[in-house]
């Protein structure tokens, strides 16, 4: 499996099916159904990309986004929501989301955004925890 993706949405049937489709595209995706579990998962097994819904019972997506960006600033966050307010989109992008999609989403568009967000991560000199990446000096130095 390739990229580590964590999906967070209280619509269990939706998020499990989306996760299965991402797995068919060689992504190591995993789904959880609330914000609190997502944050615990981010602490124990930080993903490379986090895909979150906004309106969920308990902790909502904006709170999750805020906390993840504080503790793991280089995890790329993609918002995928049924709630279509322009203000929400602006808030999410200001908080550091990589992309904002409305449901239903085209899987190819989402797949492309995930790949592009990873490219952004890889070109960043720091890792998902915000630490400097070790520079690969190669195996041969004449």
């Amino acid at each position: 499996m390739g990229l580590k993706i964590l999906l967070v949405d209280d619509e269990q049937e939706f998020v499990e099916t989306l996760s299965e489709r991402l797995q068919m595209r060689d992504m190591d995706s995993h789904a959880v159904f609330d914000g609190k579990t997502a944050l615990a998962q981010v602490q124990s097994h930080p993903p490379q990309v986090l895909i979150i819904d906004l309106k969920m019972p308990g902790m909502d997506g904006i709170q999750v986004l805020q906390q993840v960006k504080q503790t793991h600033p280089f995890i790329q966050v993609i918002v995928l929501t049924g709630h279509g307010s322009e203000q929400d989109r602006k808030t999410c992008m200001d908080l550091g989301a990589y992309a904002y999609f409305q449901k239903p989403v085209d899987i190819d568009q989402l797949h492309t955004a995930i790949r592009q967000s990873l490219e952004k991560t890889l070109t960043d000199p720091r890792d998902s925890m915000g630490f400097d990446r070790p520079v690969d000096k190669g195996f041969y130095q004449p």
């Binding site: 619509e11 989306l18 309106k55 019972p57 709170q63 709630h83 409305q102």
Partner: protein, 234 residues
């Protein structure tokens, strides 16, 4: 939604503003729900397509059980969307008539289903205990829907943190007097409602005035009841 001959234009204006806000809140919740159902249908249809591509590439047939499960999920969500649209249609048509006899249990059930997402998002559950006798009032149906929604909002959200982990239990029950309809709203044991949070704003008062109802605190602040200000017949 106020009658043109109402002698209180300020009350009318406030009630109209609140009505528009109420319609917007329920329409937003409803369209959000619809988007979620469409998203489930979209992913399941997409999964069938993915399986077809995979099967073609590997020259192996699609697992018939898997295909049938996906198809069933799509069918189930089309039914779910249909029920949502029917409820929303009933809600939209609640503005069609002027005053009429409105069944309160039916109205509470409609508000409960339309605002299910809002209630769930605030960590609450709602139980409606059927009335011992028919409970009907003569009023504008849309305004009654609005009043019930507002009552649930006060009960659910005006006293607690929406992100709280505690599950809130709300109960609606009806009075037993046929000619003096009464609807009571209570929360989980130990919950105390504050009088100053009860329909105290000018918009709330305008809403109550339009359905000719008054609000009554229950003992020890356990909840509140909405009662008609005059006997109802019909």
């Amino acid at each position: 939604m106020s009658p043109n001959n109402d002698p209180c234009p300020e009350t009318d204006r406030l009630a109209d503003m609140a009505d528009v806000k109420f319609f917007g809140a329920l329409a937003a919740a409803m369209t959000h729900d619809m988007k979620n159902v469409l998203a489930i249908i979209n992913e399941n249809a997409g999964l069938l397509g993915d399986l077809a591509v995979k099967s073609q590439k590997k020259a192996t047939p699609i697992d018939p059980l898997k295909a049938s499960t996906i198809s069933e999920k799509i069918r189930k969500n089309v039914t779910r969307a249909d029920h949502m649209m029917k409820r929303f249609n009933r809600f939209s048509h609640s503005m069609d008539h002027a005053e009429e006899f409105v069944d309160m249990e039916e109205t509470v059930m409609l508000v409960a289903s339309l605002s299910e997402r809002i209630i769930r998002r605030h960590g609450a559950t709602l139980t409606v205990i059927p009335p011992p006798v028919p409970c009907r009032i003569h009023a504008r149906r849309f305004v009654v829907l609005h009043l019930i929604f507002r009552a649930l909002d006060i009960l659910c959200c005006n006293h607690a943190d929406p992100a709280s982990d505690t599950q809130k239990q709300m109960t609606v029950r009806f009075g037993s007097n046929l000619t003096r309809p009464e609807i009571c709203f209570t929360r989980d044991p130990g919950f105390m409602i504050k009088r100053d949070a009860l329909f105290d704003s000018p918009k709330d008062r305008a809403l109550l005035a339009h359905v000719k109802m008054k609000v009554k605190m229950m003992d020890a602040g356990a909840g509140f009841c909405l009662c008609t200000a005059r006997p109802e017949h019909g």
